[in-house]
């Protein structure tokens, strides 16, 4: 378990800033990539803590969620404030706030700073992306700003590792000899109207008379944010009178001509203007910047759309094209390892555990790595050069129709290749609600693991009818329908999730569009590496355990000695053939075939007697309305680690050996002739369609569920996903089977 709290004997500093200021790059530059990730108590907000590297003192850095303002409107946003004011239980209050600013957008970034400045903590200002200052024709006098504020200002380019040592030294220095905290007269708050200060005094007085001791900061927020986080907190703690008190205060402010909440932003920006006057100079040019000129094309009605489609095409073609070779390589290694073990160990439980459980399980995890690496390589490049925000900008209108924003497009699109990298890509979505909805519908997109199941069922059971002179085939149409079914179902699901599980404030989509720049190789390397490691370590261990469990359910409690003997016999025969190329080869081949058949029969008998087989018989009444027999039920249950496993399991159950793929004539034939005890065929078009619909909508993929668990830091959401998707799949399969049975 990752530790949720910082180390006891370490000094603690907090890193805070607006989104897109390079905060995570700076965090990585300060702490290396060994962050401890956990959850803040009570909220599903990720807490990232790292140890400052290369310093003599032990210093922990807390990476706070990116925010534009300290005005806490939700529990998530309140995390930053609560950490900085030391109000999180079991969490040490940070001694220093490191405020990271985008040096190319100092004015807007200083807004958050003006609020943090007033919390009374020692502050270090970091001007990150300093390399942009010169390239964008800006002049920033950091020394002058430092003098005016009375706090250290350090200039860095975190993605190029510049200024990091100086920042580390500054952190150490400020911890050793704290600088004088600024006087209240220096705050932007001092520029608030007198009427407001009067109301603050009164409300403080009243709250103190009620036995409360809120900070000045909290009083400010109570008065300014209508129905804000602190008001809800105080109401919940039993002091419901607070609402009337605040309403009264506000109406008094209104009559005094002090417009809430406008006066705050107005005062703060006026304070900022005064602060940066002469220190930050922007060269106003008449002509549009190069970035604006690029945007003129990329947001163009046709050119912009075309370019977007082209980028997406390249990304997804690359995933399918380039991932194929390393994936084949991994599978080759897997089969090499299996045959290596088979050569060393005779048939038995240990060999089965190593080959089917461990090598199969680990391989099932590793095989995702090429896809994840390629997708995140593109995401990192697109993010770092600035196009990612434009892609969200271009797709926003389309995504709002399902209640999401443009930022959900890429994660959902990626999920058509594989939901695992798709879910990991939802990290780019800042709104937690949008992120959760996207993450929960991502597994509905038809991933590449579903395709083999569709191909098998379609080629075995859908008639080869052709229409329009052979250009349109029924099989192709069914395949296309299955591929799009998940996405179609996802629309109402997203709407329902948004309405019932993540309701609330209208989603705002105020998104900053950074100017374009060349991507930095260091940043790209780090991002890809971080995702790969986190996937292997956290999802991998759990997927591995699931594979072992399923293996055990298939293996036990049957007596395998007879099967092992048959397997040993078969392998002897096979090795004889490969050694002696005699004329009696055909005879021996017949012998091998017979031995193989015997092995297959024994294997399928053992499956029927295994725990999984017992489960299969037990669930037959439940799967019968879907048109399935117990064998299909078993195959579906056993495919929990990964959907495509169903083909191998069906192969085993139908006594064909487990090395079946979707194009195996043998398996297709066996399925076509399979019969119920009363002689009716098991598989009909209705059954095949019902299986496909089930697989289109079900959550039979432990990798996806473990990734959801990792990304949400809770078991609640993977369980939720599994339950809702399995329910949908069951209902879908049932409807399909019943409709087609009546129709045919």
């Amino acid at each position: 378990m990752p530790s949720n709290t910082v180390t006891k004997d370490a000094r603690v500093v907090a890193l805070i800033g607006n989104p897109n200021t390079g905060k995570s790059s700076l965090f990585n530059a300060l702490c290396g990539m060994n962050a401890r990730v956990g959850n803040y108590p009570g909220v599903t907000v990720e807490q990232k803590v790292g140890r400052l590297s290369g310093t003599t003192d032990l210093i922990d850095v807390i990476d706070l969620p990116g925010t534009y303002s300290l005005a806490a409107r939700s529990a998530d946003e309140a995390v930053a404030v609560n950490v900085l004011s030391g109000e999180i239980p079991q969490q040490i209050k940070p001694e220093v706030a490191i405020v990271i600013l985008d040096a190319s957008n100092v004015e807007r970034n200083l807004y958050l700073f003006s609020q943090i400045y007033e919390l009374g903590l020692p502050v270090i200002v970091v001007m990150n992306m300093w390399d942009r200052v010169t390239s964008e024709g800006l002049t920033v006098n950091a020394e002058l700003l430092s003098q005016r504020l009375g706090v250290p200002v350090v200039c860095t380019s975190a993605n190029k590792r510049k200024g990091i040592d100086e920042l580390k030294k500054t952190i150490e220095a400020i911890l050793r000899s704290p600088v004088a905290t600024p006087q209240p007269e220096q705050f932007a708050r001092a520029m608030f109207p007198a009427a407001f200060h009067e109301e603050v005094k009164q409300l403080t007085h009243w709250l103190e008379s009620q036995g409360r001791k809120p900070s000045t900061y909290q009083i400010d927020r109570l008065l300014i944010d209508s129905d804000g986080h602190f008001q809800k907190l105080i109401c919940q703690s039993g002091l419901s009178d607070i609402a009337t008190k605040i309403d009264e205060a506000r109406s008094r402010l209104q009559t005094a001509g002090c417009k809430v909440p406008m006066f705050e932003t107005k005062a703060r920006y006026a304070w900022i203007r005064k602060l940066i006057d002469g220190a930050v100079v922007r060269q106003e040019s008449r002509s549009a910047s190069p970035s604006d000129r690029i945007d003129r094309w990329l947001t163009h009605r046709w050119v912009g759309m075309l370019f977007f489609v082209l980028v997406m095409f390249v990304v997804f073609q690359s995933i399918t094209l380039f991932a194929k070779y390393p994936m084949d390589g991994i599978q080759w290694l897997q089969s090499q390892a299996s045959s290596g073990v088979e050569a060393m160990l005779g048939p038995g439980a240990l060999r089965s555990l190593i080959v089917d459980g461990i090598i199969g399980g680990v391989g099932g995890v590793i095989v995702f790595l090429p896809q994840i690496a390629i997708l995140f390589l593109f995401i990192a490049i697109l993010e770092d050069c600035g196009y990612m925000a434009r892609a969200a900008f271009v797709m926003d209108k389309l995504m709002t129709t399902v209640g999401l924003s443009g930022k959900s497009f890429l994660p959902l699109m990626s999920s058509f290749a594989c939901a695992v990298p798709g879910i990991m890509a939802t990290r780019t979505i800042e709104s937690r609600k949008d992120r959760m909805v996207t993450l929960l519908i991502a597994p509905l997109m038809s991933c590449s693991a579903r395709l083999p199941v569709y191909v098998l069922m379609v080629s075995a059971f859908v008639p080869e009818s052709k229409y329009l002179g052979g250009w349109v085939t029924l099989q192709g149409m069914v395949l296309m329908f299955m591929q799009s079914l998940g996405a179609l179902v996802a629309i109402p699901v997203a709407w329902l999730l948004k309405k019932f599980f993540f309701p609330g404030e209208p989603a705002t989509f105020l998104m900053e569009l950074h100017s374009y720049k060349w991507p930095s190789p260091v940043v790209i390397y780090q991002r890809v590496w971080e995702r790969l490691v986190s996937f292997v370590v956290r999802a991998g261990t759990l997927i591995f355990c699931t594979s072992i469990l399923v293996w055990a359910a298939v293996y036990f409690p049957g007596d395998h000695s007879s099967l092992d003997a048959s397997v040993a016999n078969l392998e002897n025969l096979q090795s004889e053939v490969s050694v002696t190329e005699s004329e009696s080869e055909s005879e021996k081949n017949i012998g091998i075939e017979q031995a193989q058949e015997l092995v297959n029969q024994k294997r399928s008998a053992l499956i029927e007697g295994s725990f999984l087989g017992m489960v299969g018989h037990r669930i037959e009444p439940f799967v019968k309305p879907l048109g399935w027999d117990w064998k299909i039920g078993v195959a579906v249950v056993a495919s929990f680690p990964a959907r495509e496993v169903i083909i191998a399991t069906l192969g085993t159950i139908y006594s064909l050996g487990s090395d079946q793929d979707e194009n195996s004539q043998g398996l297709q034939h066996q399925m076509q002739v399979a019969e119920w005890p009363d002689g009716k065929p098991v598989f009909s078009l209705a059954t095949a369609l019902s299986i496909m619909v089930f697989f289109a909508l079900c959550a039979q993929c432990s990798a996806t569920l473990m990734t959801i668990r990792r990304e949400t830091n809770s078991w609640r959401w993977p369980i939720f996903s599994f339950v809702y998707m399995t329910t949908l799949a069951y209902i879908g399969a049932w409807l399909t089977y019943q409709c087609f049975r009546i129709w045919s």
């Binding site: 190319s104 957008n105 909440p261 932003t265 604006d292 163009h300 569009l513």
Partner: protein, 80 residues
């Protein structure tokens, strides 16, 4: 100051205006103001997304994307 107030959404590509008012006191209004959209601040329209929404604006030296539902909250006076 004789020019009429129009919605920010009505600005065409390349047109500039000065913000006159932000309507409302809810989250959307405060977010807009926190992002620096305040009375008397100049703002320019950079371009619209291919599907007509959202729109990119230039304000306080940076570029921001606003949906129509957000930009109608901002009243501006065109700069002639």
């Amino acid at each position: 100051m004789s020019l009429p107030k129009i919605s920010l959404d009505e600005l065409q590509r390349g047109e500039s205006a000065v913000i006159a008012e932000i309507i409302g006191d809810d989250v959307v209004a405060s977010r807009l103001m926190e992002m620096g959209l305040i009375e008397d601040e100049p703002i320019a329209m950079v371009g619209r997304a291919p599907m007509g929404d959202p729109t990119e604006y230039a304000v306080r030296g940076y570029r921001i994307s606003l949906r129509k539902s957000e930009s109608v909250r901002v009243l501006v006076r065109k700069v002639p």
